[in-house]
Amino acid sequence: MTTETFAEDVLLFVNAAVTATGQREFHSAAGRQQLSLDFLHEYVRVNYRRVYAASLALDINDHNAVRIVQGLLEYASEASPAEKRAEGRLIAARLAKLPPQRVYRLFRGLRAAKVNNRRTRAIMRDWLAARPDPAHDAVKYRAGLRTAVRHAHLPLDDGAAPAGELGAFLFRPGKLPRYRHGLLDAWRRAHYEQGAVAELPFTVAEGFAARHGMKRAAFLERMAPRMTRLERLRTQGQRGGAAPQERAAGTDLTVMPLTRLALYVLSLDAPARLRHRDELTLALRTAARRAAGPHAGRWGRVAAVLDDSYSSSGSGEKRRRPLAVALACHFLLEALAAPGAYAPLWTSGARDPLLVRPWGPTPLGLRVLDALEHGPERLVIVSDGWDNAPPGLAGEVLRVWRTRLDPGRSTSVVHVNPVYDADGFDVRRLSPGVPTAGIRDAEDLPALVEIAQFSEGRTGPAELYAYLDRQVARFVTAAPSGGPL
């Protein structure tokens, strides 16, 4: 096996692990995505186990992180003791960052796959011990917690709850006439008492509310203080029944992550976006400045080609995701570029980023030309790689630009792609001369530009390994402080 194929395979896998979620995309169905991912995971796990584990330290998505953890634990016998130790640290750090429902689902998956070795049990024990409130988990993730405890024979740490109550709650429901712990007792009472419903976590309360036939709007209004930030956003159209288009109070948009915020903006219709233009723009700019961090204003003259063609509408499962990434990248690049030196070019010719909608063909070639005319130091293309008006023109323009007009590389061109192409086992490229990286959250853009340089073939596998080691070291040490987003 040559070193070139190694670097190619690693980048292929990283791109897939960043973009693919096994869900339907605009161009390919869910089944194909899963088959394609299955193959990639097995191939990389068998051939490059060390890289497979190390990719947990990269900004890959949760779906693939869970798959990698399961793959590592399921095929533990293929690793040496030293590798196992390194993997264990990586897994623990990654699980701490994952949302709890994903981890509980992973535990269920491990149980279904009959993985029950000592290491797996230790990992489950440590993760559960680090959960802040076991009683809350017992109510909210009842089946998940029960499965985990039963599968790994874990002692139940009752935390705030009186001794034995948690075990009784999970495994012998109805045995105790009442619980002394407030949350557990609220769950018991909520079965027949409407007043207790409001004391429960929102997703649990939702089911009870439906059972009691409570009015949705009134229920949501009462639950608002107990919801998570995303739950508040998701339900705000249903709250405050008088004007469903108005944003209900109680959500601070400026603290939201950039891509999430872009998704939220795109979920509003055009009049609502116009009405809250100042508020939304301020929130997007704040989030972008936070994401840019130390890089803010350091990128010089930047031009961006942003794809808002019809295919950026994504699919029913990933609604408007590619467009949201493009919108988030727009604001992020604005923050990264030197003040006033940023030129955004949407493929549809749109001028107002706040009002973009997925519409029309993808004349990427001409837009790239327009962008190059600004004479930028960096050109960033955010597109799903389908260039159809006419097909292949963007690749040709970039090739001629690279070979004839700018052989000295005074402009660095990067293509970031939010869509996994199931047939190609990678994200689609525009041109072999332009580095392409998969992207999931616009916040990762500065890091991805670094990865993309490896795919240009100008740096060797030694640098790639060094990069991975750096990332792993940073990830393992930084993990305990950084909680889930």
Partner: protein, 379 residues
């Protein structure tokens, strides 16, 4: 008028999905004074049409088209439709949605409706024109023709067609197709053979009718090409570069690639549709517009042949067009019927015109499925 005149429509770059190629047709400005709408029928496409007194036929009819030349656009309602916003409140400014009252029988293929509207059944006009080709059978009582042929003619005559859903890849191709701004039509190719052309007067109408392409009828050949054909190659842009390339030169070359595609399409792909001379048959006149159906000359070895219907303006330019590609067997039948009619149904004269013998011609008539027309003499 014997040609299709597609002036005003420019070809956009094609989009390929598997074996299906879709070529957008873009108008600079929409045709003034004509709009097309859609009427959806209940019954999942099974419909009965009364074509005359005590004559009706049954066919697949998922929807009808309503041509409106009143100049009022789609804001006025015809009988059987209701205007409502998406939320059902009918707020002003929201796009109208057409709901049709249950209707069991369609009266006539093209039927005038109040307020300068015409409802017609797309593709059925064309198909009926083809089916009625010398429908009456022999006009002279030569002794070779059976009594049934003289009495009833070619009755009943029927043709098979494939639904768009069953054309492999067409549904996905239409779903992933990115509609161009100003697009008023599309040409559908299966394995790079022209399967259908569809043109409407206004971009908004096209947007509304784009998904109906998958409910249309397609010829047998189209189905087979899509089924067995390999994925077609996407047209890839190529820019010749030299050492003295500039950014302006690059832009000119890129524009040239767009033009090259448009010209190549008209001369290479759509030639068979545009260069054939058709027999036009007027169906309805509506103001300055005319609804026609047309039949090809039924030439053997003449490439693909299309039947269809079209609405033209007073200059003969196409405002609406829908075509159906005939299969080889269908062309053969049309050819045979034409030659027989030209020879007044006299077998010996027709055989001479076709350059064969009388026995051979009899065999061909039997093979074409018109066996019942001939008197059974051999057995």
């Amino acid at each position: 008028m014997n040609r299709l005149e597609l002036t005003g429509l420019t070809t956009g770059p094609s989009q390929v999905w598997g074996g299906i190629r879709l070529v957008p047709l873009v108008r600079e400005a929409p045709v003034a004074g004509l709009r097309l709408g859609r009427e959806v029928y209940e019954g999942y496409g099974s419909g009965v049409v009364e074509v005359g007194p005590r004559t009706h036929y049954t066919s697949y009819i998922p929807h009808g088209l309503v041509a409106d030349w009143s100049g009022e656009g789609t804001d006025s309602a015809a009988y059987g439709t209701q205007l409502a916003g998406r939320d059902g409140t009918g707020s002003p400014g929201s796009p109208p949605r057409t709901l049709t009252l249950p209707r069991h029988r369609h009266h006539r293929l093209a039927k005038r409706q109040p307020g300068n509207r015409l409802r017609f059944l797309p593709q059925h006009l064309a198909m009926e024109g083809y089916l009625a080709l010398h429908f009456g059978g022999p006009s002279t009582a030569w002794e070779e023709w059976s009594r049934q042929a003289l009495r009833d003619g070619l009755s009943p005559r029927e043709e098979d067609a494939y639904l768009g859903w069953s054309v492999r890849g067409l549904g996905d191709a239409l779903r992933t197709f990115e509609i161009h701004p100003g697009q008023c039509g599309v040409m559908v190719y299966a394995a790079d053979a022209l399967a259908a052309a569809f043109v409407v007067p206004h971009p908004d109408d096209y947007r509304l009718l784009h998904p109906t392409l998958v409910q249309d009828l397609y010829g047998e050949l189209v189905h087979q090409y899509a089924m067995y054909g390999a994925p077609v190659a996407a047209f890839g842009a190529r820019i010749a570069d030299g050492p003295h390339m500039t950014l302006a030169g690059l832009r000119a070359a890129a524009r040239g690639q767009e033009r090259a595609w448009s010209e190549a399409h008209d001369t290479l792909f759509a030639r068979e549709l545009l260069d054939t001379s058709y027999g036009f048959d007027r169906v309805y006149r509506m103001g300055s517009f005319t609804l026609w159906r047309f039949l090809p000359p039924f030439l053997r070895n003449g490439g693909g042949q299309h039947i269809g219907e079209t609405i033209t303006d007073h200059k003969g330019r196409v405002a609406y067009l829908k075509t159906f590609r005939l299969s080889e067997a269908q062309i053969r039948r049309g050819h045979l019927l034409r030659r027989l009619a030209d020879a007044d149904w006299e077998l010996s004269r027709a055989a001479v015109a076709l350059g064969t013998g009388e026995t051979e011609l009899t065999r061909r008539i039997r093979d074409a499925g018109f066996e019942s027309l001939l008197r059974d003499r051999g057995r």
